[in-house]
Amino acid sequence: MINSFILSGMGLRKSYGTLEVVKGVSLAVDPGEFVCLVGKSGCGKTTILSLLSGLEKPTQGKVTLGGKEITEASEDELALFRRENVGFIFQSFNLIPTLSAWENVALPLFPVKIPKDQQRQRAMEMLGKMELDHRTEHLPSALSGGEKQRVAIARALVNHPKIIFADEPTGNLDSATGEAIMAILHRLHAEDGVAILMVTHEVELAKTADRLVRMKDGEIAA
């Protein structure tokens, strides 16, 4: 059965020195499933996200992403794997300040050997999907918070990922903009069938997902 999951983490543990922040967590996400990981600040949600996305290696446990076990992969193998299978959305947008909106979207494609005009075209399509056609040449400093996050979502989608990891994607936005961003994520989930694993501390937002997983003190709460 485990093979049908797009993502699974089994018995994940993560320690920093003597401090254990993730204590034997097992979690799986089905293809096209929208899962929300909820918990208070400092409960280990972001660490779990890092472990499952291959940004960080667990001290113990196994992560399988898109049918491939990534726990023992090298740093460069993980980077290539992320490039082809994973999209990220961060709370603080994490756009490159010197690149325009479309260039930020095309960032995962820059090291890929595809023609520049195709890179641009794909980025433009994604920005169109985010209704940002009129902001393609603007630098992040000229965009509003909501626009920045939409650019970040476009970037997460540009490589047609199997799963998107979203870490507090509405955390830096006002409630109206946050709701708009959530609406976009739900639309992508519904229309494109992309799986989403979202971390949030806002239970109300999490309730809109297919499944809600609560975390407490580094463990999945019952």
Binding site: R82, E84, Q91, I96, T98, E103, L107, P111, L139, E168
Partner: protein, 416 residues
């Protein structure tokens, strides 16, 4: 490596780019200037000899005449025999040779410094043909004289006058301003070499101190292959003996007394220090810049850039920055070199080469040739310096990129 990303990073972070480039450019400018100065001193050392169309001058010291009457040789320049001249002429690397005969002539009412010149030869004092201020230059086979303009003014001699030297009359066909030319091989009166030979052969005083025959001389001017000057100088010393004075650009360089002139090692050491300083400046400023971009590197890695992608991107930026620094350094050096080219240096002329008797007023004074330092930045040096800065950029960018690419994206991207 993505060129668009690189260009935008350098453009939008232009203050950062400018600071990095400027720091390195100072080191590069220093490197270029030190070498340009060293080169300028070397070229300056060629000037006194070049002005008489030669690379080497040769003379031989001898005894002081017992009595200063009639024509005598200065004790610093006695006979060089025609057999010796032939041997010197046969040395490998010699491209041309000019001869001259320097005489002091003590007539009852006047003393003359007379230089017999091989007036058709382009090597040696015949270059004075370009310094004639009045009348004309000497012509072949004619017993005529040129008079130095200051001497002519002092004694009221005019072109078209006739002067008498050792009882022989010479029509003055022109005046020459030797001060426009070199300080070497200057005289009051210039005669065709054959006429000066005649004066020497006839002088008992001269013959008793340093026997002289036709076709002998006491000054030689040599044009030689640049890379053989030192070996030719050594061979000439062997032919003429210990009392020979052989002046070469190297001997003038030593007289200049500057650290730049004295020591290749100094220039090399100073250049190495400039390079090390340049590398340290580049490394420090770029390390600071790259550290500021840790979060950006984390984003790149999170979205799928490999360590290699990151290293190449940073290396490319660093190479472009350092290339700009190299070009800027070149322009700074160019401006500084232009400023330094107005600097004058005084080149001491060895006393042996001074034609004036030391017992005459001012004759014992050290004479100097004042010349502007020919500071210029050769293209080869400029290209080397720019290539060096590109290499510095590549190495610095590579090392720093390698270091920063090891950061874990999760560490720098934790939400704030």
């Amino acid at each position: 490596m993505n060129l668009r990303y690189m260009a935008k990073e350098l453009y939008y972070q232009r203050r950062r780019t400018a600071i990095s480039a400027f720091g390195l450019s100072i080191g590069i400018a220093l490197l270029i200037l030190l070498n340009a100065l060293s080169l300028a001193y070397r070229q300056a050392a060629h000037i006194p000899l070049k002005e008489i169309g030669a690379d080497i001058t040769v003379q031989r010291a001898g005894d002081v005449p017992e009595e200063l009457a009639g024509a005598v040789f200065p004790c610093s320049a006695v006979t060089i025999r025609k057999e010796e001249i032939k041997k010197i002429g046969d040395l490998p690397g010699i491209k041309g040779m000019g001869k001259a005969l320097l005489l002091w002539v003590f007539d009852p009412n006047r003393a003359w410094i007379v230089l017999g010149i091989d007036h058709e030869n382009s090597v040696g004092p015949a270059v004075l043909r370009y310094s004639v201020t009045e009348g004309r230059f000497l012509e072949d086979g004619k017993p005529e004289a040129l008079v130095e303009v200051a001497y002519a003014k002092q004694f009221g001699i005019k072109a078209s006058d006739t002067i008498s030297i050792s009882g022989r009359d010479f029509p003055v066909v022109g005046l020459v301003d030797a001060s426009r030319s070199t300080k070497i091989a200057v005289a009051n009166v210039y005669l065709p070499l054959k006429e000066a030979e005649g004066l020497a052969i006839m002088s008992k005083q001269l013959q008793s101190v340093s026997p002289y025959a036709s076709d002998d001389v006491n000054l030689l001017f040599i044009k030689a292959d640049q890379d053989k000057i030192s070996s030719i100088a050594s061979s000439m010393k062997m032919i003429l003996g210990d009392r020979a004075t052989v002046a070469t650009p190297d001997s003038f360089l030593k007289l200049l007394g500057s650290l730049f002139a004295l020591s290749d090692k100094f220039t090399l050491a100073a250049s190495l220090i400039a390079i090390v300083v340049a590398v340290l400046i580049a490394f420090k400023t770029m390390a600071g810049n790259i550290a500021e971009r840790a979060k950006e590197i984390g984003i790149l890695k999170a979205v799928g850039w490999t360590n290699r992608n990151v290293i190449f991107q940073l290396m490319g930026e660093s190479v472009v920055q350092c290339f700009l620094a190299g070009v800027l350094g070149f322009f700074i050096a160019l401006v500084a070199a232009y400023g330094l080219s107005f600097m004058s240096v005084s080149m001491p002329i060895p006393w042996e080469m001074s034609p004036t008797p030391h017992f005459l007023p001012g004759g014992g004074d050290q004479i100097f040739k004042t010349l502007q330092l020919p500071v210029a930045v050769p293209w080869t040096l400029a290209i080397f310096a720019i290539l060096l800065s590109v290499v510095i950029g590549g190495v610095t960018g590579g090392l720093l990129g390698r270091h920063i690419s090891r950061i874990k994206p999760s560490e720098v991207l934790r939400h704030d």
